[in-house]
Amino acid sequence: MISVQSDDFSVEAVCDELRQKAGDTGAIVTFTGLVREFAKDRSIHLMTLEHYPGMTEKSLQSIVDKADKRWDINDSIIIHRVGALKPGDQIVIVAIASRHRKDAFEAAEFIMDYLKTDAPFWKKEHTDAGEHWVAQDSKDIDASRRWGSTNR
């Protein structure tokens, strides 16, 4: 399940949903991304997330489809929030259910790495020194690349 939404989500509710359809699931891995309070010594009072409606969902689905081909995944839930968020707020959750933990850990990391470089979201930080668009981090590009060619 993929959702792009402004509402907050509950990590427990996401895990419960994956457990309900358990089948032969032996492992559930979740990653949650949060809004940091500080960036470059500046205190962030607000972060706004813009996205490309329509393409965002397609892009996330495409990333999940790639993960499905490479790992043995029973089910996955990706929720990414948009709109105005405060420090400490949850931004994104990637939750993977699989038979064994290796697939769950690796698929979750893969999906996050690709989401960081491929999914059309843009963050704007609002600080005391004004507002600015966050620049893409070269570390994220490196992280995405290390998964090798996946016929992007």
Binding site: L49, H51, Y52, G54, A119, Q136
Partner: protein, 88 residues
Amino acid sequence: MPIRDIQILYFASLREQLDRDRETIALTGDLKTISDICQLLAGRGGAWKGMFDGSMTILYAVNQQIARRETEIKPGDELAFFPPVTGG
């Protein structure tokens, strides 16, 4: 939208600098690729020139799929220009 038009969307910092989130343009015969569209937009001068003359990193999408400068455009297409993404 008339049959030969394409819709162009601008996001994030591009939208702010160009002060426009979307527009429709007619796809005349000389406009075949994204590169051609970039040239047209750069020709407007000012912020448009700075944005589309190749000096800035811009990403492209056609009908909500990532595209390249060489990607061809057809009437009815939705074209989007945006900065490198920063989700997650």
